[in-house]
Amino acid sequence: MSALGVVGGVLQPLLVAAGAPLLVGVTRQVRARLEGRAGPGVGQPWRDLRKLLRKEAITPRGTSEVFRLAPLVLVATTLVVAVVVPFVTTDSALDPVADLFAVVALLALGTVAVALAGLDTGTAFGGMGASREMTIIALVEPTLLVAIFALSVRVGSTNLASIVASTLHDPARVISPVSLLAAVALIVVIVAETGRLPVDNPATHLELTMVHEAMVLEYAGPDLALVELASAMRLTVFLGLLANLFLPWGIATTATALAVLGGVLAFALKVTLLGAVLAVGEVFLAKLRLFRVPELLAGSFLLALLAVAASFFLA
């Protein structure tokens, strides 16, 4: 474990946890401005979290430990991912421990925990959200893994640090067909996994359209704070993953203070930009009907498959 890895391992989860609500604040603010509203300001998600943390914890009648543990598991999986993935530094504290497959599986584990919590409440809303979320997860998986396959071919490894390092060495690869196709496929997947438009609307509380919100309907107080924080962190992690898999520039390769500071700033900038682009996109998009979502995901799967084909036939 190198010094750089340790710095990254400590800095990245803190940065993700602290910055994620701000990122959500930025996306909401951008949206509000484009829709002609003043908006609550970038710090509003943090203020909401503070308010929720001060409230008493509520256990809905008939729920079990699964319901109480799920928010902790959700946040923990995201934090572990934030340690593993090279966001700020190319070395990771847990480098040989987990690769891109493990990262994807860890994020899925968090989703599964929340889905079980939704089923545990025994309400129709909880079951509905869990059922829809699991359908989407099952369909997203092929795209995700085939896209990872496409990215790993040129490196010969699914290790994240190797993929990032190889892009740093050979910048021309970013505009190769493999990268572009895989990037588009991954963007669709990220939109689906983080529950953004057009797959899910994070601002809705209408039963016909809810996916993520339906599962977490029964949460209140500090538990809800954890769930909200986790969904913001997942957005950050996914956008960070997208940024650094395809545009890793600025990431710290040495453990000097200047390089690490540059890494932090570059990461914050990239993720904020991507978040703003996402918000702009959402203004112009309506939510898809749930049963049109598979078509979108099938399209992204095709792109991922083309990316792998390109990596072989155009290499």
């Binding site: 943390l53 089923l119 699991m134 099952a138 998986e141 893994l145 010969g156 084909a309």
Partner: protein, 672 residues
């Protein structure tokens, strides 16, 4: 006498003695004696298998014991893996059976057959001549058939399942018989050593024929498409510890057969053999897990999941064969190691799942997920066991299947750069199939665990559920412990399995494992499940501590669920397994072809008022209907035609005999 030899001897002796004891000892202690004997037999099998994996081999020939062929036994490392896995499943199932069999399964016959089944199954991967192999194979099928039929008096479906199983397992046997006899016909004798020798100079067409025909037989035992139809019928209807033995141990013999014939006896063969294996495996995995996602019967769901996992194993075996045929021995070893590790992992978690499903059946009297729910309060240990099994089966870290599927994916993705066009097309599609399977498996097991065990009881049985007796819990505990060890410390078994796989395809060892990290050798890749689990645990504890510091200190308060202000929620308003699977059913509508019926009954006064609405949904097995139904109709049609010949008149039958004799004599005079 080494460990392998003495272990096997003990296993066979103890098994046969237990069968004898079942017939002799009084009813009161029968299940305890047989259960303990079976468990000891299994433990001896594990010891023998571990000895064999460690390099101890032995062979034994007893020409007088079996007419015509004699008995030939030769334990090698490949057989040792399957012997050890079977033995381990037997230990857990044997202990579990002590408590489970007390309710109607403690008759002399059923109790005597269980150890006999176990002995036959332990011998299949050990024997080394075609005659002995076929005898053990058939005994394994027959004894298991008797066990499947154990509860036929209580439920009529058992007899139907038994018929399907009997017919299909014998068709499989016929296929294996034909294949192996063709091979024997070209050799000097029927021992595996002689077959290996003969396979070097077989005419090319013959080797192909032998492989394909035996593949049909072995694939039907492993529940591979399209010969899987017996599996989701027979496994649910068998008593649960027998289901565990069949689903976690017996199906593995199909994989063993394919590996033994393909890699060992025929020495590799051409690439298209293994492409066929891989495609069959991938199709089975996706189709079966889709059926599992639709299934509302807990044990049927687990049965389909068995087909799915065997499919994944065959993807690994097929990839190994393709890489070996292309000369890429590093990846061949890696793929086969992934497949063997998945066999071991699947055995552990499927035993756990079937045993806990049996516990649910024992406690509630139902295995219909739509009737279950809320078992967490009344059956906490069973719930924990099933939860662990579900995590293990859904390929998420820190679960058991995650490690083997990770190895499999690593093998598949590294195949691309050096490949030909066929491999370049097959590998991404295989990765996608594995990924879709993994995703649907997550959905299936979230459904099984979330609907079956969490929330509120949906039926009377689930409301009055009670926890199972201690012996059943111990059996589940053993399987659970094995799952945990395999999930966190795959490094403890991977070197052994890797070297066996490597030897089978003559490759270098595929993975280097230190205490915590699995590192692939030859290709880049590393994973440390235990570190990942520790990282998760530490993070959860840190978070918990941080929350105590930051969040309000007020006590937790219980509150009503959100019921839209319409009064208390009843169990009827909960999501069921059927409704949980509905979105997936719609997405895969074209594949599944579900049947839905809506019957609306109107009130007498007006046809605009509805008195009752009845909704029925069934997701029949499409392959079964398209492939089996026409064959069955044809056969029964021929049967009807044949009946005209049999009128019941003795004169007619004597006449048939006479004319047949004349005809034979005429034919003989003509051709001689």
């Amino acid at each position: 006498m080494n460990l392998a030899q003495s272990g096997l001897g003990t296993a066979v002796a103890v098994g046969l003695l237990s069968a004898l004891a079942a017939l002799l000892v009084p009813h009161r202690v029968r299940t305890a004696v047989v259960g303990t004997g079976t468990a000891v037999c299994g433990a001896a099998g594990v010891a023998s298998g571990i000895g064999a994996i460690g390099g101890q081999t032995f062979s034994l020939t007893m020409p007088a014991l079996l007419p015509l062929s004699g008995i030939t036994v030769a334990l090698d490392p490949l057989g040792g893996v399957f012997l050890a896995v079977t033995g381990a499943v037997v230990v857990a199932a044997g202990v579990y059976g002590i408590g489970y069999a007390r309710h109607g399964l403690d008759g002399r016959l059923v109790q005597a057959v269980l150890p006999l089944f176990v002995v036959a199954m332990l011998l299949v991967p050990v024997v080394a001549s075609v005659g002995t192999f076929l005898v053990c194979w058939e005994l394994m099928a027959l004894w298991s058939l008797l066990l499947v039929l154990a509860e036929h008096k209580r439920r009529p479906e058992v007899a139907v399942a038994g018929r399907w199983y009997a017919v299909m397992t014998h068709l499989g046997l016929v296929a294996i018989l034909i294949g192996l006899l063709v091979l024997v016909g070209n050799a000097d004798g029927d021992s595996f050593a002689q077959l290996r020798e003969a396979a070097r100079h077989l005419p090319p067409g013959v080797a192909d024929l032998v492989f394909v025909v035996t593949l049909v037989g072995f694939a039907s035992k492993a529940g591979i498409l399209p010969l899987h139809a017996w599996l989701p019928r027979a496994h649910p209807e068998a008593p649960s510890h027998v289901s565990a033995l069949m689903s976690a141990a017996m199906v593995n013999m199909g994989v063993y057969g394919i590996a033994r014939v393909g890699f060992d006896l025929l020495g590799g063969g051409s690439r298209w053999w293994w492409l066929l294996v891989l495609v069959l495996g991938a199709a089975s995995a996706v189709y079966a897990i889709l059926q599992a996602a639709m299934s509302t019967d807990l044990k049927r769901l687990l049965g389909y999941s068995t087909t799915e996992n065997m499919g994944l194993v065959l993807v690994g075996v097929g990839a190994a064969g393709m890489f070996a045929a292309a000369g890429n021995t590093v990846l061949a070893g890696l793929s086969l190691a992934a497949a063997l590790l998945h066999v071991i992992n699947h055995a552990a978690f499927k035993t756990l799942l079937f045993l806990s499903a049996g516990s649910v059946l024992h406690g509630t009297g139902s295995r219909d997920l739509d009737e279950l729910g809320g078992l967490r309060r009344s059956m906490p240990l069973t719930t924990a066991a099933f939860g662990l099994g579900a995590l293990a089966a859904s390929a998420l870290p820190p679960g058991t299947a995650f490690v083997s599927e990770w190895l499999l994916l690593q093998a598949l993705i590294h195949g691309l750069p050096t490949a030909g066009v066929t491999t370049a097309i097959v590998m991404p599609v295989a990765v996608a199939a594995v990924a879709l399977t993994a995703g649907l498996a997550v959905a299936s097991f979230v459904k099984a665990f979330g609907v079956g065990f969490l929330a509120r009881p949906r039926g009377a049985g689930a409301e009055q559920a009670k926890e199972s007796p201690v012996s059943m819990l111990i059996g589940m505990g053993m399987a659970g412990a094995a799952s945990i060890v395999l999930a966190l410390a795959p490094t403890s078994v991977l070197p052994g399995v890797g070297s066996v796989a490597a030897r089978t395809v003559s490759a270098p060892d595929p993975a280097v494992a230190d205490a915590v990290t699995v590192r692939l050798s030859g290709v880049a890749g590393s994973l440390s499940p235990v570190m990942l689990a520790i990282a998760l645990l530490v993070t959860i504890m840190l978070l918990f501590g941080a929350l105590r510091l930051v969040a309000s200190r007020r006590a937790r308060r219980t509150a009503r669920l959100w019921d839209c202000g319409a009064g208390p929620l009843s169990a009827r308003m909960e999501y069921t397994a059927t409704s949980f699977a509905e979105p997936l059913q719609r997405v895969f509508d074209d594949v599944l072809e579900p049947e839905t019926d809506v019957d609306v009954t109107h009130t007498r006064e007006s046809s605009y008022l509805v008195a009752a609405v009845e909704y029925r949904r069934r997701v029949p097995d499409r392959i079964e209907r398209r492939l089996y139904q026409p064959v069955l109709t044809l056969v029964s049609g021929w049967g009807q035609v044949g009946r005209r010949l049999a009128t019941g008149s003795v004169h007619r039958y004597l006449g048939y005999g006479f004319y047949t004799l004349i005809a034979v004599l005429v034919v003989l005079t003509v051709i001689r």
